[in-house]
Symmetry: C2
Subunit: 247 residues, 2 copies
């Protein structure tokens, strides 16, 4: 009975969790919760790899996960898994994958969405998933700055990890700013994202939108690579991993 | 300093609450929470009237409330009220009303929405506001039954209150069944609703949709006026008071 590689897709409301990554102290994490359920299903310890880590309070509409485990019919496993997972973690699909499939190493592109509730009105129903910002935003200035961000750049100024040794060059393929009623939504697609990169890009754009920062500061951040030249890190709860793509 | 009548509109996520109506034992209710905040604002006990009671776990996109209190500028009161209310109760607007305005007695029409997530897929983000039902639903049969429900009828069979002494005749002005992806949404407008009426009507329609009940049973329920001839009461969390109208 050789093991199989499985591909699992999840959605989760990150509100209660200390982020994706399993923590040694037993703190509540999404990875830890999923591994506990899978280990119970298979009757042996199962470790999973996610396409990437999400921070504490960040959500996912589609997180992709790979793991190795004994061969069992995926459809039956999926039903049992759904019953074991808490209601804020949903198993969307479960299938066999190619033996060498790895959710993180094989990912070629990700899309994140960041949602802002741009109104004074209380945001009762979506409050876990949107950040409220009542100030008027200059969308044209934000879109001009977003244009400067798109492309292949060294995003070191937009990364919270100071000891980052590897390349901080990434290709931001698109950054759309959409509106839907009082919601302002940032949709970012890249070949990869650095630690806190989406939240710092969005924080910078919001400061530009509020007139507290110049559009040109984006170019200075790329040139200097210094974190302190960029904006504040936008709060976690507005962020959601929307999609992970593979070749 | 004569008192003024105020009209307050609220939205709330009813998940945490034992319903709208203040309870003597100090249980958490929406009315109790709003009265506590207003009493703090005005420095004296304030009692409010809602357009109607919502059950434990039922939500409101727009609940209308009236109360009498000393004259103070509504705009400033509204800002202070928003800071005092918990994040799952939002104050949408606050204005002076005509002296004789009463949120319940003056209401002429209400609209409720009931939301069903008609899919096997986990409903991670809207799980507080939708009831999951994976079974295939016969929408045509449900719409035919809904047609029978619309109109002026004695809805006693669709009311949970057995000791109901007053008239149980109501005019259901419309009952639309809409779909939006995997969501099936019931939108009901009437001049008034009896206790549990929306949830029993929806429960009956869902049983018809699943093929467990005949369309014609609706007519039998109207004729017999017996609760046990109608369907189960659909769960509270799918229900939301959407709008209250006044002449």
């Amino acid at each position: 009975m050789g093991g199989r590689t499985y591909r699992l897709t999840l959605a989760y409301d990150g509100t209660r969790y200390r982020g994706w990554q399993r923590l040694p102290n037993g703190a509540l994490t999404v990875q830890g919760s999923v591994e506990r359920a899978l280990s119970e299903l298979f009757g042996q310890p199962i470790e999973v790899s996610g396409s990437g880590r999400t921070d504490a309070g960040v959500h996912a509409e589609m997180q992709v996960v790979s793991f190795s485990a004994p061969e069992q019919a995926p459809a039956a496993l999926l039903s049992r898994l759904r019953r074991l997972l808490p209601e804020d973690i949903g198993a969307l699909s479960l299938d066999y994958a190619a033996e060498r499939f790895h959710a993180r190493l094989c990912a070629t592109e990700k899309t994140y969405v960041y949602r802002v509730w741009n109104s004074e009105l209380p945001d009762v129903f979506e409050r876990r998933f949107r950040v409220q910002l009542p100030q008027k935003l200059d969308l044209a200035a934000m879109r001009a700055a977003a244009e400067l961000m798109v492309g292949t750049h060294d995003f070191k100024a937009f990364c919270a990890n100071k000891q980052f040794k590897k390349s901080s060059v990434r290709t931001l393929k698109s950054l759309q700013i959409e509106t839907d009623g009082a919601e302002v939504r940032f949709v970012l697609t890249a070949d990869g994202f650095l630690y806190h990169m989406v939240r710092i890009l969005v924080g910078t754009l919001l400061e530009i939108g509020m007139g507290r920062r110049e559009i040109a500061s984006v170019e200075e951040s790329f040139a200097s690579r210094r974190r302190e030249t960029a904006g504040e890190t936008a709060p976690a709860k507005g962020l959601c991993l929307k999609e992970v793509r593979y070749d």
